[in-house]
Amino acid sequence: MLEVEQVCLRPGEDDNAEAVFAHTFAPGEISVVLGANQSGKTDLCRLIAGLNTRARGNVCLDGQSLTGASTRQQAVGMVYQAFVNYPNLTVAENIASPLRARRLSAAQIDERVTDLATRLGIVTLLDRFPHELSGGQQQRLAIARAMAKQARVLLLDEPLVNLDFKLREALEIELRELLHAAGTVVIYTSSDPRDAFSLGDQVLLLDAGHKIQAGAPLEVYTQPASFRAMELLAEPGVNYLQQHGVLCAVRPEHVRVQQIENDAQPLQFNMRVTAYETNGDESFIHGRVEEHDWVVRSSGMMPVAAGDALTLYASAGDVVRF
């Protein structure tokens, strides 16, 4: 169990009480740290890994406080957003690198390298150099090397963000299995809410250095603590308007263009359509409702064009009031 306490991701510029938080990451679970760019995800990872960072805080692993950079570095494995591998070592030597540092026997190293390379699908590439691999393969290598160390904490800092989206989806499914099998504390940062649902057992929402909510992804989705928390888990954004001094927010997927069956009293909104986009499977209708930009997400294609007036419906239960 990894506990972080008294964490302040922006010391000096943001020192007030809400900026300081604590969090517990459980072993055998994937914790997705979700936040926009510059929200402090990387700083949190670097703090836990004992790397140079402006973030401050205490890190405890299984009840033991990890002070000092080197003790923390012993405990973690890390995968960076950029594909970082030793360019002068082959794939096999790269994976073996942390094992060499621990002075394992050659037979043990060989066995571990083959095992990990097989699990990550790079076993046919063992003799190549990193620059001879594709981006996806390079990141698989980086993940293999991080796992080779059998560290008690595995940190993955937006590992798939530089890959194209088909590769991402394929790797994500594999990663879920692989990371669960590792049985360690896994911290996976991302700015994409889909990762929270597809990978995360737990999600921690960060906003501008603040922890704004944590819990199981669906729980956070259904009961957002704040508008910002709701926004972070929404794709592409949250629709909102002020009603009698209350902020009413509803997700794009909960707004309908047709009457909702079995709902006697839906809320109604009038929208002026400004743009319409579709990929055949899904459509996004952008428009304005009372001075606010709204998006409607619905399946299939719609006979809608810019300039149309639409009546939107939403169940009262889907509208969150703050």
Binding site: Q73, A101, K149
Partner: protein, 268 residues
């Protein structure tokens, strides 16, 4: 295939550049009578006598050895000082780092002649005069800043994540530096070596002033031969050929990284 105009221009320019080199080689392969005799493009009776003279005469081959000694010393000192310095400049922020880095470059702006007198007087006073180390150290004043400047460009292009990763993997700093970082930058070090070598090899003013009878460098011997027993064109040309050779060899080894080196590593 019809040769294009640009290709022809390229060939003509190439020939123009190679002409003096060819003429040097051609002179080195003739005897004096042939050189001052009738004009001919190819040597009438090619001879290796000039080269034999150089390898047989201690004045000549010792001068070559003298030059090679201080050039090698200079290159070794420059690299062993500049590699750690460039690493620090590329990895750490400290008070006045940018100013110090720029000040290094300004050292290159001063002409060597400025330092002639202080070096001469200082080295004479402390007994360094007329040793290979004297020239090597004097040349370091120019090659160390240049080396730091080139290497820093290359080193900065290596992501710092690599340093961190090696630490997380459990490697010590010396292991990372010598087994990973330096091998990655092999090309950069080759290019730097080339620049140090060439500067020290062709520099005449300091080398001549700081050496006496014991450690006379090749460039000095070449200029003095003019007044010795008339003018031995052939031997002089042969010495010239041998002086060009080390540079050619070094260029051959670092040719792949040379362009990047001229851009001081700031090419991705």
């Amino acid at each position: 295939m019809k040769p294009s105009a640009s290709r022809i221009i390229l060939w003509v320019y190439g020939l123009y550049l190679l002409l003096p080199l060819y003429w040097l080689l051609s002179m080195a392969l003739r005897n004096n009578a042939d050189i001052v005799g009738e004009f001919s493009v190819f040597p009438a009776a090619p001879t290796l006598a000039n080269f034999q003279e150089i390898f047989a005469n201690p004045v000549w081959y010792e001068a070559f050895l003298n030059s090679l000694t201080y050039v090698t010393l200079n290159t070794l000192i420059s690299l062993s000082v500049a590699i750690p310095a460039a690493y620090v400049f590329s990895r750490y922020r400290f008070l006045g780092d940018k100013q110090l880095f720029f000040w290094l470059l300004t050292n290159r702006m001063a002409p060597p002649a400025v330092f002639l007198l202080p070096f001469f007087q200082l080295y004479s006073a402390i007994g360094l005069f007329d040793t290979p180390l004297a020239v090597a150290l004097a040349h370091c004043l120019f090659t160390v800043p240049l080396s730091v400047w080139i290497l820093e460009g290359f080193f900065s292009a290596v992501p710092t994540e690599l340093d961190e990763m090696a630490r997380i993997d459990g490697h010590s700093f010396p292991y990372f530096f010598f087994r990973i970082f330096l091998p990655i930058n092999r090309g950069a070090i080759g290019v730097t070596l080339f620049f140090c070598f060439m500067f020290s090899w062709v520099e005449l003013l300091l080398a001549r002033t700081l050496t006496g009878a014991e450690t006379k460098p090749i460039a000095v011997v070449m200029t003095r031969t003019v007044s010795a027993s008339g003018l031995d064109w052939g031997v002089l040309a042969a010495a010239g050929v041998l002086t060009v050779l080390p540079g050619v060899l070094v260029v051959w080894f670092v040719r792949k990284d040379l362009v990047k080196g001229f851009a001081l590593g700031r090419v991705s």
